[in-house]
């Protein structure tokens, strides 16, 4: 059961192209719009109940900023406190190291299980981090079968598909599509299509695995430095299954997941559920520390992952990207995401957070079109529970992309940059600006067409600007600019008409 072609920022098409393709899929657009409408509505309701919502956001932002400032200290504390109670902490600089580590740990666990239980299988709880490093493919390549246990991830896995949303990964699928998938992959020819029947089918399909498979891999929502504890936030119960029944648990977590103290959860466990699914509290939160006698796994490993996060940290203006608690509220409110869905972003992190996180994790060598996948409307910033100023980071990244693309002689092969430099030169002088305006009026004459009212419009522009006129008209430049009108009026002295009316 492979997970198909990974959403890989290194090979994904640039956003404008990927988005244009997604836009052709009317099923996807309808599903995405419906899903995000629903979550937005729920979020608005539960947030409006909280008179201290803004104070929670401010605290959330402060906690996360403080954490990054002392990240090395907190990671050391976490490691020490986790290890003291029997957890084993590993560190991975990049995806390759992390994959190798996890595979080794799984193989050790399989060996420990002995000859009676030598099946090379693992249970998985949904984890964006494991998708970021394409862990499932690596496991399969090593002859280990991963079983996704989140309903949405199960749908994705059975369908050889890719997640399209942080919190609701299969929101691009409707019930008919899911039913077809389950009928085939679970061998249930009579399966109905109501959500209840589909959920029941998934429950039975997975339950046998939960009770049998002795190794599980998870991500983590939060790591608590003070206690060495891990916190997992979920809805379905599959997390609880994977965290308590297997004998070996391997948790993969980005170094940005750490929080200073247990008490800090009181802020984020209020803002995360309300932002992510519009609930006062999600059904299940699990917190544990290391290995507990008589409860849960006997072997517990944590793999701390960098994979570009320290690069993000080093960019002072952009490091707020790491504050993200993966709630997905920015995606639900983003007017761009709501048209294209997640796949267009070419990465497991999509929407506004994806547009800033993915290019940075790729050190701007890939996904360079993502910072431009935004109209800078600011809706994301408004809903972010930890107040990440996403528009500010987008503009900052755009500047970084431009500086790279215009370094040295590169600028000569970059028509956009040349046009921008020319425009800047024009704006720096009023004389040049007026000349450009006159030139523009002249140049547009062949393109002007009069509409039924006799007004001149342009419906077709050449080259780059053709993107506008493909779907929109452009009113032609008027014969007189404002400053020409002003100068005229000043020359003719003010008309009596204009100054007649007395103010109310």
């Amino acid at each position: 059961m492979s997970t198909g072609t990974a959403l890989d920022p290194r090979t994904a098409p640039p956003f404008p192209i990927a988005a244009a393709r997604s836009l052709e899929d009317s099923q996807l657009r309808k599903n995405v719009r419906h899903a995000t409408d629903v979550i937005q509505g729920k979020r608005a309701r539960v947030v409006s109940e909280m008179p201290d919502w803004e104070a929670l956001r401010i605290s959330g932002e402060a906690i996360r900023r403080h954490t990054m400032k002392h990240l090395d200290e907190y990671l050391r504390q976490f490691e020490e406190n986790c290890a003291r109670v029997g957890g084993v902490v590993h560190w991975a600089r990049d995806g390759a190291e992390a994959r190798a580590l996890v595979i080794r740990l799984v193989e050790e666990a399989v060996e420990n299980e002995g000859p009676h239980n030598s099946l090379r299988e693992v249970l998985k709880i949904k984890s964006m981090t494991t998708e970021e490093i394409q862990l499932n493919q690596a496991l399969e390549f090593a002859g280990i079968r991963p079983y996704e246990t989140d309903l949405a991830e199960l749908i994705i896995q059975l369908g050889h598909d890719q997640p399209s949303h942080i919190v609701v990964p299969a929101l691009h699928k409707n019930r008919q599509q899911i039913r077809e998938l389950f009928r085939k992959e679970m061998d249930l020819p009579e399966l109905g299509e109501s959500p209840e029947e589909l959920a029941e089918a998934a429950r039975r399909f997975l339950r046998t695995r939960f009770l049998r498979v002795p190794i599980a891999i998870s991500g983590a929502n939060f790591l608590i430095a003070e206690t060495g504890g891990v916190c997992i936030v979920e809805s379905e119960g599959n997390g609880r299954m994977c965290l308590t029944l297997p004998r070996t648990l391997i948790t993969l977590a980005g170094i940005d997941k750490v929080l200073p103290r247990f008490r800090d959860l009181e802020v984020l466990l209020q803002t995360l559920p309300r932002s992510a699914t519009g609930e006062r509290m999600n059904p299940y939160n699990s917190m544990w520390t290391g290995v507990q006698r008589a409860d849960g796994p006997k072997q517990f490993h944590v793999v701390l992952l960098d994979n570009g996060r320290t690069d993000v940290l080093a960019d002072i203006e952009a490091r707020q990207t790491l504050h993200c608690i993966r709630c997905g509220a920015c995606q639900n409110v983003c007017p761009v995401y709501r048209e294209t869905g997640g796949h267009a972003y070419g990465s497991v992190y999509a929407g506004p957070i994806g547009a800033i996180l993915t290019p940075q994790l790729q050190r701007l060598q890939h996904a360079r079109s993502l910072p431009y996948a935004s109209s800078l409307c600011g809706a994301c910033y408004e809903v972010c529970p930890v107040k990440i100023n996403i528009p500010e980071v987008l503009i900052h990244l755009r500047n970084k992309v431009v500086r790279r693309d215009t370094a040295g002689l590169r600028v000569l092969g970059n028509p956009e940059a040349l046009a921008m430099k020319a425009a800047s030169t024009i704006f720096r002088s009023e004389r040049r600006f007026r000349a450009a305006q006159r030139l523009g009026r002249l140049a547009q004459r062949p393109l002007e067409r009069k509409d039924a009212k006799g007004e001149p419009w342009v419906s077709s522009l050449p080259g780059f600007f053709g993107g506008w006129t493909a779907t929109r008209d452009l009113r032609a430049m008027p014969k007189q600019t404002f400053r020409e009108w002003w100068e005229n009026r000043s020359r003719n002295n003010r008309d009596a008409k204009y100054s007649a009316e007395a103010p109310r």
Binding site: P335, V336, E339, E382, L397, R398, F427, R428, W486, P503
Partner: protein, 259 residues
């Protein structure tokens, strides 16, 4: 009051009737309007597209043009947002590079006197009724910069509600972006158009004759679709509606005006 008008590069070139309307409204209210002749552009397009170095030189120019103004009015909330959000940092950069001592102070002082057009009326002048008459059904689209960066709130609507004869329609999903986003409209034309189709559908569903906003960038985008589809629904900047009175129906002006 003597109010300096920063017309903005795109209004000057494409929407002069908006500037004319601003002048009309302010003079009707008894104020004197000035127009510093050397003005060009605030640098937003460059800055937001990533060309910060190219935007930098436009700041000292702007400060020099407007430093002595009692108040500055700008009929474009995105340009005012640009100034409030980025000019301070840009000024610091220029000071560090050398040759612009005191620029940060100048910027701070000037920012306190710059108003988007509806802000000038509602916050600086404390008005909601400016004596306008416009007996038509109108839908108001809150531009993202006005809504979120400037926090214009109910300001523009309070001005519209006081217009005699007007019928204000409720715009569905009003706070959703129209899809313009500056260079986004070209660089991501397909998505921009998809966002626009949601917005234009919402506008058409109101049955309004006119869609208005505080920004011609949004209106250019919205009108782009409304006109292409020959819907008969037009766009007008807020200032142009407020400029209409019983006596004056905006018949003049290079932009054509309302029949």
């Amino acid at each position: 009051m003597r109010i300096a008008l920063f017309i903005t590069c795109y209004n000057d070139t494409l929407f002069p009737e908006t500037g004319i309307a601003v002048v009309r409204v302010l003079e009707r209210l008894g104020h004197e309007v000035e127009f510093p002749a050397g003005q060009t552009c605030c640098g937003q397009m460059h800055y937001n597209t990533g060309y910060q170095d190219e935007a930098l030189p436009l700041l000292p120019r702007f400060v020099q043009q407007f430093r002595s103004a009692e108040a500055v009015v700008v009929p474009s909330s995105s340009c005012v947002a640009m100034m409030r959000e980025h000019y301070p940092a840009m000024a610091r950069r220029l000071e560090q590079a050398g040759g612009h001592d005191g620029l940060s102070g100048d910027v701070e002082s000037l920012l306190g006197r710059i108003y988007e057009f509806s802000e000038l009326l509602t916050r600086r002048l404390g008005l909601s009724d400016v004596g306008a008459y416009f007996p038509h059904r109108v839908a108001y689209h809150p531009s993202c910069h006005g809504l979120r960066s400037l926090g214009l709130g109910d300001g523009p609507l309070s001005l519209l509600r006081s217009v005699r004869g007007i019928e204000l329609a409720d715009l569905r999903d009003a706070e959703e972006c129209c899809g313009f986003g500056g260079t986004f409209a070209i660089k991501n034309a397909a998505v921009s158009s998809a966002m626009l189709s949601e917005k234009s559908r919402a506008v058409l569903d109101t049955g309004a004759e006119i869609c208005t906003a505080t920004d011609n960038s949004c209106l250019m985008q919205i009108n782009g679709a409304l006109h292409r589809k020959r819907t008969g629904v037009r766009t007008m900047h807020l200032a142009e509606i407020l400029a209409c009175t019983q006596a004056y129906k905006n018949a003049e002006g290079p932009g054509g005006g309302f029949p």
